[in-house]
Amino acid sequence: MPAHIRTGTHFMSGNIASAEGALAAGCKFYAGYPITPSTELAEWMSRRLPESGGVFIQMEDEIASMGAILGASWAGKKSMTATSGPGFSLMQENIGLGVITETPCVIVDVQRGGPSTGLPTLVGQQDVMQARWGSHGDYEIIALSPDSVQECFDITVMAFNYAEEYRVPAIVLMDECVSHMWEKVVIPSEEDIKIINRQVPDSPPPPGQDYYPYRCKNGGMVPCMPRAGEGYRIHITGLTHTEKGYPRIDAEAQEKLVRRLCDKIRLNQDKISKVEEYLMDDAEICFVAYGTTSRSARRAVKIARQKGIKAGLLRLITIWPFPENRIRTLAERIKTFVVAEINYGQIFYEVQRCAGGKAETILVPKLGGELHKPDEILKGAGI
Amino acid sequence: MDARRMPFRYIGQKINIKQHKWTPPHQYVKIIKDRCKGCNLCIEFCPQGILEESEEFNANGYHPPRIREAFHWGYDDKACLGCAYCTLICPEFAIYTVPDEEEEEK
């Protein structure tokens, strides 16, 4: 059994399952700063990376952590970091750097009550919009949300795969509840875990010719990623740049670059977006939830069905890109969307926008600190 | 002869007479005129002082350096010693020295 995959059945917490998922996906570099409630992930990685052939470093702050994982990614290693709300705010500038340089990496944001120092040890889901819009400028990001400890493992592997495939920082939006929950996790063997690696170019250019790091092959939207130190002589910059990587400060270069950065996710929305539907075939009321809230929402659906109400659950696995097309299709036949989330309305507005007025949208918020009870969701929905 | 009067030789070593007739190797200064931005650092810091500012304009409107006319008249043509300080002091990669090919062959 290889050192980095612990095949078998385990009893572990969400943080540890996420760390094991990262190791199984091939993560070889972790740079982070301890912050409740994600500290266990860093501690587990500090124990497991030496035997997995990786490197662990605790940096001086989250800004440095994000910079370090970008550098490690350009040196050829899969890298990740884990943080919570306040650290996530600090990382935003370098997330923007990761987006414009198209650097694959994974950021685990274990959400807690905010804003500011907020509720360090209690659950929240208040960073959802920040994951999408946190950094300045126009960009698209991939963000996933697990609802169980097994999913923490699976979704971290999925996040690494998305990051490598689309060359974008991928965010795993856990919440404090699932990160500290202890449940059974089954880690498959190495052959059964699907791993996607970044596309690398074949060989360095001959002397006299230059390599174009942002030129995509065959009309695709994601270029190959070379490593530093192999003779490709790449120039990577955070300024708006051309296909050759050289900075170019005008509207034409900005148009080409930013459009491709956004389109590579937007046009592949249907491939990337993943949702889980529960009893949605004949549903008239759709409960929309993600993360740990979806467990309460699932119970609420069962209670409603017992009362004879045709309820169903739409659980978002990928939060960004938002599954717009699914909501639009559902809005044709669904009467009401009930959005339950532990914030004062973030995904609610996305659902409302995509429903387009064809279905009523109700928000059942909890401002942070505790999960929804199923009765509270039903009461909020008016059932 | 004590060590103070002969700083580069230890006491007792014989002076090689030929060394007094040693001529320094000659090098040529090459100037890439269009890269010059007219800072005049090479002109100032050449130990031999063989450069001066020319009157012509290059493509960017600066006056690039040129070898002093006195050194073109022939008798002091071999003034550049190839210390290559101009190569280093120029921020533009616009000036460098090359060895004299005939002397190299010797």
């Binding site: 070889k28 570099f29 124990r47 497991r48 030496p50 035997e51 490197v55 470093i57 940096m59 001086e60 800004i63 440095a64 994000m66 910079g67 370090a68 970008l70 550098g71 490690a72 990614s73 350009w74 040196a75 050829g76 290693k77 890298s79 500038e93 750097l97 490593r227 530093a228 130190g229 003779g231 002589r233 790449i234 120039h235 990577i236 910059t237 955070g238 051309t242 050759k244 050289y246 | 890439i32 890269r35 931005k37 007219g38 800072c39 005049n40 650092l41 100032e44 810091f45 493509a59 960017n60 600066y62 300080y85 190569t87 280093l88 002091i89 120029c90 921020p91 533009e92 990669f93 090359v98």
Partner: protein, 315 residues
């Protein structure tokens, strides 16, 4: 007022036609594809991105000297160019990677050092250098500098100190001297500056040196030493900024500032870095201040990892 306008308008009309020159300039500065035939060869051109020469720095700017010193050091060391990586931040000095024909990274303001740390730890075969400005490294990036020096990560950090934030118009920085005029201290700077070699030595750097842009052979030797030494090496280069800092403080042209460096600089190798404070006296103390041996981060980490995993998996 009206006559002034008139005078200005007349001047513009009388200027010679510079359209042909502009074409040549545009061809030189924006040509990306075809370049080799246009420009002549400098022996060190193979280290440069020819299609981006001439560079953007002002006439006489010290950053050009740092660039050519770095490149000459690589040439003299016969270094493997494939394994050289240069990382920089934002600012005039931050543009250096754009002109070097090797793997180079232009990152966010102040965050070049963590980026370089991640790169070096993920691939220890790379020789990582951080070349950045005084504001980038010691104002916004001060924390990262301290910790990288403390950890003794093997890298060379070269700070080009032009005493202000040049690219954005000459605002004061952490190295601007007291009473200096800058864009954000129009009546005089009321912040005492850092003594950078002292800071680097106190943080734990194993090699600390300071030179100016005219002490080029010594700078090349320092760069060679820093690139081959294990541990965190730091070199500060005092550079002229004739366009912003120099103009506002009446220092003259780059040539005047270079002459000033020639007259006032005093080489004091291995003196106490505390004496390297530039505001202490009229003289500029330069030289190599620290050259010690200490186990570097990777050595310590490898030793601990080996010890931890020698009995197999045990966590």
């Amino acid at each position: 007022m009206k006559s002034d306008m008139h005078h200005f308008m007349r001047d513009v009309r009388e200027k010679p036609d510079i359209a042909p020159l502009r074409d040549i300039v545009e061809k030189i500065t924006y040509a990306e594809e075809t370049t080799q035939e246009l420009l002549e060869d400098h022996p060190l051109d193979k280290y440069l991105r020819r299609d981006r020469i001439p560079h953007i720095w002002c006439s006489g700017c010290g950053i050009g000297n740092v660039l050519i010193s770095y490149v000459t050091a690589l040439e003299e060391m016969k270094a493997d160019i494939k394994k050289q990586v240069v990382v920089s931040g934002i600012g005039c000095t931050g543009r250096i990677p754009g002109y070097l024909n090797m793997d180079t990274f232009h990152t966010t303001h102040g965050r070049a050092i963590p980026f370089a740390t991640g790169m070096k730890l993920a691939n220890p075969e790379l020789t990582v250098s951080v070349i950045s400005g005084d504001g980038d490294l010691f104002a916004i990036g001060g924390n990262h500098f301290l910790h990288a020096a403390r950890r003794n990560i093997t890298m060379m950090v070269l700070c080009v100190n032009n005493f202000n934030y040049g690219m954005t118009g000459g605002q004061l920085g952490p190295t601007t001297l007291l009473d200096d005029i800058s864009a954000t201290s129009p009546f005089g700077n009321y912040e005492p500056p850092f003594n950078i070699p002292y800071l680097a030595a106190a943080s734990g750097a194993v090699y600390v040196a300071r030179w100016t842009t005219i002490h080029l052979r010594r700078l090349i030797k320092s760069i060679t030493r820093a690139l081959t030494k294990k541990g965190f090496s730091f070199i500060e280069v005092l550079a002229p900024c004739p366009t912003n800092y120099g103009k506002m403080n009446k220092k003259g042209t780059a040539l005047d500032i270079a002459r000033y460096y020639q007259q006032k600089s005093v080489i004091r190798d291995f003196c106490d870095p505390m004496l390297a404070d530039l505001s202490r006296s009229d003289e500029l103390v330069i030289g190599e201040f620290v050259d010690i041996e200490k186990p570097c981060f990777q050595e310590i980490q490898e030793r601990i990892y080996k010890e931890a995993t020698k009995n197999g998996i045990h966590v």
